[in-house]
Subunit: 137 residues, 2 copies
């Protein structure tokens, strides 16, 4: 699967965002990194939505290309590859939190998934700080 240069439909900021992650998979990877502390290919692959490996590889490459994510060798195990969010990627947290809160309000199924809804509800501002400091630490 060849990753082409990102399109550019208009100068609208919403359009820009959608051109980058307006699909059904990209934000799930961001979610895994942001809220579930996942950082390895295999961990993304085993998420319950079952992304297939070719799509996963494609999306990781795009995210790296857009500098939302870095890809590096684990310092403690050189053969281990580790993905991490850049500050550009971490800054998606507020948007994702609002998305979580909206779904929690309107969908009873996702409201049952308490994994990070409670965090998101407690304090939107504080959560962002938490996520960032955890990512640094």
């Amino acid at each position: 699967m060849q990753t082409r240069e990102p399109l550019r439909r208009s100068d609208c900021p919403i359009s820009y965002a959608l051109d980058l992650f307006g699909d059904k998979w990209t934000l799930l990877i961001i979610r895994d990194m942001l809220f579930k502390q996942k950082q390895r290919y295999g961990q993304f692959a085993e998420s319950e939505e079952k992304i297939s490996t070719n799509i996963l590889a494609d999306r990781l490459a795009r995210l790296e290309g857009e500098e939302l994510v870095t890809k590096e060798a684990d310092p403690e195990n050189g053969r281990q590859v580790v993905y991490a969010l850049t500050s550009k990627g971490l800054d998606l947290a507020p948007m994702l939190i609002e998305m979580i809160l909206w779904s929690a309000k309107y969908d009873r199924h996702s409201a049952a998934d308490r994994t990070f809804i409670r965090k998101a509800m407690s304090d939107r501002g504080q959560l962002v700080k938490d996520v960032k400091s955890r990512a640094r630490g």
Copy 2:
């Protein structure tokens, strides 16, 4: 174009949201209704991203099916069709505002589109109230 029932990949709230509007067009229609006071088919069709009419009709039908949007005859002109956001649709405003702010921060092109960035920046909380009261009024 047949609109099928929405998929359900998992109980995750982010996955739920993406299953509803995780594509390149749906949120642009919401944007037009929320920030540009558009309410007619023709107005959506003339947005600069140039959605084609079959996709537009499909997305409007889905949004109506998900009760994010209502479709009614204009009370002042019975032949005129008017689309409006439900409260469920209006509640997407905070998420879209965060999306706008993120793009404004990281994309110089969309930062040049001042249409609603300034509003979004001034006061996130107040903007939501403004949008809702404007929609009611």
